[in-house]
């Protein structure tokens, strides 16, 4: 069975989804989904170990060899991202049973798990596959599931957000499709590796350039690259909190993965270098500053962290833009680290919503007294977001700054650190009101607010501890990201 791990990684959650539908009982469906999640987590760990030991794993679906059939291709990068998705997806799933109780009608809950698993499987499929059209198909599976998940939100604006996201997402996917079509017409293949080999060495081909731009823009829409990010705040704000935690921790990460894959694996690290790299850096920096500034002003905390996500995506884009092995490592580290901190933050918000029903800033006044564990989690994850030492956030900032200094881009380095100063502002305003703010008289008159239930707290603290643990013992993400980065830069292993 060990040979089949790559495909099992995807089809376990994929086939668990219809099974959940047949169970038709929310609690059973949850248990089953968790089981599927755990299995896929175990598989992804096994895959990472396998790749580290014996190099790229290639799995031919239907036993048709690569360019003819669809290939599953697990290299270091995909194994690393698979691990992020399956672990974060599973941890958030653990919290879902409690987390959705207040937000989703009881008769829809089993459907929720079906869609959740589909979404997760779709994301895993995007990462595992070595075939560019297959990417499109799985992208759509996960996207469709996402739209539906977002629409679960209680606020009617969730519907509008989902619609908006659907339109943008579909345009993005179709752009990707155009890019794929153009590339196919130039190479006659859909396999990523084969395509890279067959791409005309003479990169002056306008078709190839156009394909590149369309793919980048299409993916940019999906990952909320700075000027294309407008769908994200609404989506994150109005989706059920669990869904937000899941999306923030995984979906954008997969889009980043895709961007890296397209840029480095298909077109090669140097393709369009002079043109695209400054654009990435500028867009990334703009994203960091504009989104952070907007975040400071938000009164809805969920929206605040949504904008902060846009800003954090900016950091990852900067790393891609600098385009050295070191900066890419920074991006990959931030991929993992940001998943940890945003997962934790949104889960904490889920806990707040569970008890209070809102994430408005005023609700947080004095909340630390009533929900000490939840708030402590927000503090630690917030520190990580700022990039304080001994948390994961520090590690990725370190690499990004180091990379920009290493490439002689001093201003970029300074701007990166200035960006985290903005994070201090928006995180600390929240911490302050939670610990020192005075609760409204109206809030205190009602029944006292209790700490969130364990069903939410345990997954939440798992993530918080991970935030600190991987900030101190950095070996696992560091090794994986370093070898993945050098692999992408063509240094081999």
């Amino acid at each position: 069975m060990l040979d089949h791990l790559p495909i099992l990684q995807v089809i376990v959650p994929l086939l668990a989804a219809p099974a959940c539908l047949l169970l038709n009982n929310a609690r059973l469906a949850w248990l089953f989904a968790c089981l599927a999640g755990l299995i896929s987590l175990v598989i992804s760990v096994a895959l990472l170990v396998q790749v580290q030991q014996s190099g790229v794993i290639s799995y031919m679906l239907g036993s048709w060899e690569a360019p003819w059939g669809i290939e599953y291709r697990i290299d270091l990068l995909s194994a690393y991202v698979l691990l992020i998705i399956s672990s974060l997806g599973t941890i958030v799933l653990l919290a879902a049973n409690t987390g959705i109780r207040q937000e989703i009608a009881a008769d829809k809950q089993s459907l929720f798990y079906v869609l959740y698993l589909l979404c997760m499987a779709g994301l895993l499929g995007i990462v595992a596959t070595g075939d560019i059209f297959n990417v499109f198909v799985f992208l759509e599976i996960s996207s469709l599931a996402t739209y539906a998940l977002v629409a679960f939100g209680r606020d009617r604006r969730a519907l509008l957000a989902a619609y908006q996201y659907l339109i943008v997402g579909t345009i993005g996917a179709t752009f990707l499709l155009i890019g794929i079509g153009l590339l196919y017409s130039m190479t006659g293949t859909l396999n990523i590796e084969d395509m890279a080999n067959r791409l005309p060495v003479d990169t002056n081909s306008g078709t190839v350039y156009t394909a590149f731009i369309f793919m980048i823009v299409g993916i940019g829409l999906k990952l909320a690259l700075f000027p294309l990010h407008l769908w994200l705040p609404n989506t994150y704000t109005y989706a059920p909190s669990i869904v937000t935690a899941f999306l923030a921790a995984t979906a954008t990460k997969v889009a980043i993965y895709l961007l890296i894959r397209v840029q480095f694996s298909i077109f090669g690290a140097d393709f369009g270098g002079e043109l695209i790299q400054p654009i990435f850096i500028v867009l990334g920096l703009l994203g960091v500053f504009v989104a952070s500034t907007v975040a400071i002003k938000q009164s809805n905390i969920k929206r605040l962290f949504a904008y902060s996500s846009v800003a954090q995506i900016g950091y990852m884009i900067i790393g891609i833009g600098i385009g050295t092995s070191l900066s890419l490592q920074g991006t990959l580290l931030h991929l993992f680290n940001h998943a940890l901190m945003k997962g934790a933050l949104f889960l904490a918000l889920a806990a707040v919503v569970y008890r209070i029903g809102s994430t408005d800033r005023t609700c947080f006044n004095g909340l630390a007294k009533h929900m000490p564990w939840t708030m402590a989690a927000i503090v630690i994850a917030g520190l990580s977001l700022i990039g304080v030492p001994l948390t994961v956030g520090f590690i990725s900032k370190w690499y990004l700054v180091l990379a920009s200094i290493d490439s002689g881009m001093w201003p970029v380095a300074l701007l990166i650190v200035l960006g985290s100063l903005l994070a201090v502002y928006y995180v600390w305003a929240l911490v302050e009101s939670a610990y020192f703010g005075k609760a409204d008289a109206s809030a205190t008159s009602s029944a006292p607010i209790k700490e969130a239930p364990l069903g939410l707290l345990i997954p939440l603290w798992l993530l918080v501890i991970a935030n600190v643990y991987f900030g101190i013992d950095t070996r696992l993400p560091l090794e994986a990201s370093a070898s993945a980065a050098s692999f992408l830069m063509g240094g081999g292993q």
């Binding site: 520190l383 201090v424 101190i472």
Partner: protein, 500 residues
């Protein structure tokens, strides 16, 4: 006792954390809680003292904890300056704990458990800073210290405390993120090594312009050294309860700042390098400006703690100046001044706190005639003031002497003049307080008697609670003793920057 220095270092760092845990666990029993604090504080001091004996005998130690990033380790090492700093901090921790018991109880502060636990964590961070083997480790605990002291600053929870806390955090985190961190990473990128090394880590062919810029970044980045224009956090932090102000903002936090600066100049850049950089002069004059400007501001402050805060800023700049002089005497003076100022300033703060607890007075103009009610406190205040000014028979005179010598050696006449003028200013803003306390001006007396029962009328005013009083006496005695017996500190300070 034959404990290995490796074990000692780790115990010194970990014991305060144990204290923090103990404090939290015993939060229902104030007596046990404070007994734990005191016991552990004393044991830490004893351990540091043992370490001192060892380093005098030439024994050093290196402890490696974990490697966070490849080549970047969290590790600790004994070294003269470290021991000096640790010795002062741990000794004053005992005294402060003693003082805090009296102060906090009679002042009926809320959340005392939170207070003692974060206090202990801060001490742990200070110890870790002191023994850091490299700049990376130092940076980590520098940040930890900032965050651990934040709840102490905002302890009161009032609007004012929050605002102070915000400024505190904003400036300290801000400078360290914007200047310190990039400088740190750049150093790593250029030199590939962050270990404190005698003579510096940079290769000889490193462009000196880069180094010059880096030096500016470090000086500004180490916000805890309160160099202008990044000094405002210190007055803001005065909203904290007095023991916090005393230990953290006269000793631990600010001294961690100048300590970091010294470490950086001596062991990252190397003294010789710093002497040659083009920005050094600029920074020297900035320090001189800070000395004068903050002394002048201090004169205008009526709030006693605020005046002391600005005095601290000025005194810190002395240390920075001494370091940047990059001469042996300057360094010696700076090292000594860390110690001397610590004892002097903590005494002043203790007195201020005692006055606050007993008479609820915070403004200097209200303190006329207080000396008759609280003679011991006021005498202590007077002696400590002498030490800050640098007059015999107090320890402060030694450090001032060496600082002057340093500026003389390097022929910085302007700086020398600044030091002299500043001493005069010190006299002008410190001495009037005890003088008024004992010999109230006529107007003050009449005001007081007219206005209310402020001083004369209230029979309740007497000396501070006993534990606090003992603390005050200890530190005052130390100020005097250090004049007559400066040898131990002197020996340590002389070892700083000398290759083992």
């Amino acid at each position: 006792m034959n404990l290995s220095p490796e074990l000692l270092i780790q115990l010194i760092i970990l014991l305060p954390l144990v204290a923090a845990a103990g404090v939290v666990l015993s939060h229902r029993h104030p007596n046990i809680r404070e007994a734990i604090s005191l016991t552990i504080a004393s044991s830490v001091f004893i351990l540091v003292f043992l370490l001192y004996r060892q380093i005098i005998n030439g024994e050093t130690a290196l402890v490696h904890w974990i490697s966070i990033l490849p080549g970047l380790n969290v590790s600790f090492k004994t070294e003269a300056l470290s021991v000096l700093f640790a010795l002062i901090a741990s000794f004053l921790w005992i005294v402060t704990t003693l003082y805090a018991i009296g102060y906090m109880r009679s002042h009926h502060e809320q959340n005392q458990t939170r207070f003692y636990s974060f206090f202990a964590i801060s001490i742990a961070a200070v110890m870790a800073i002191a023994f850091s083997e490299n700049l990376f480790t130092l940076f980590i605990f520098y940040e930890v210290l900032t965050l651990a002291t934040y709840p102490l600053v905002t302890h009161a929870g009032t609007e004012k405390a929050q605002k102070g806390g915000r400024t505190y955090l904003r400036i300290l985190l801000g400078t360290s993120i914007v200047f310190f961190l990039p400088a740190l990473i750049a150093t790593w990128a250029i030199a590939g090594n962050l270990s404190f090394t005698v003579g510096g880590v940079f290769a000889d062919d490193t462009p000196s312009l880069w180094l010059a810029i880096l030096l500016v970044f470090f000086v500004f980045g180490i916000g805890k050294a309160a160099m202008m224009p990044f000094h405002r956090w210190l007055p803001s932090a005065m909203v904290a309860p007095t023991p916090v102000s005393a230990l953290l903002h006269a000793v631990a936090v600010v001294k961690a700042g100048v300590f970091t600066l010294m470490k950086t100049v001596v062991f990252i850049f190397g003294m010789d390098t710093v002497g040659e950089l083009i920005t050094t002069d600029f920074l020297l004059y900035l320090a001189a400006f800070t000395i004068l400007a903050s002394s002048l501001i201090a004169m205008k402050q009526d709030n006693l703690k605020a005046r002391l805060a600005y005095s601290t800023i000025s005194q810190l700049a002395y240390v920075s100046l001494g370091v940047l002089l990059a001469s042996e005497a300057g360094l010696l003076g700076s090292s000594m001044h860390i110690a001397m100022h610590a004892f002097g300033k903590i005494t002043l703060f203790f007195c201020a706190g005692a006055i606050l607890v007993v008479s609820h007075k915070t403004e200097i103009s209200q303190m006329g005639g207080l000396g008759r009610k609280m003679p011991i406190t006021m005498i202590a205040f007077f002696i400590a003031s002498l030490s800050i000014i640098g007059l015999p028979p107090t320890g402060g005179s030694w450090s001032k002497y060496y600082l002057l010598l340093g500026s003389l050696e390097t022929q910085h006449w302007v700086l020398m003049a600044v030091l002299m003028i500043s001493s005069l200013l010190n006299i002008a803003y410190l001495l009037p307080i005890p003088i008024r306390g004992f010999f109230p001006a006529k107007s003050t007396v009449s005001q007081a008697s007219d206005g209310s029962e402020a001083i004369q009328g209230s029979e309740t005013i007497q000396e501070a609670p006993l534990p606090a009083l003992i603390a005050i006496i200890i530190t005052t005695l130390a100020c005097v003793l250090l004049f007559f017996f400066p040898q131990p500190l002197f020996e340590l300070a002389k070892m700083v920057g000398v290759a083992p």
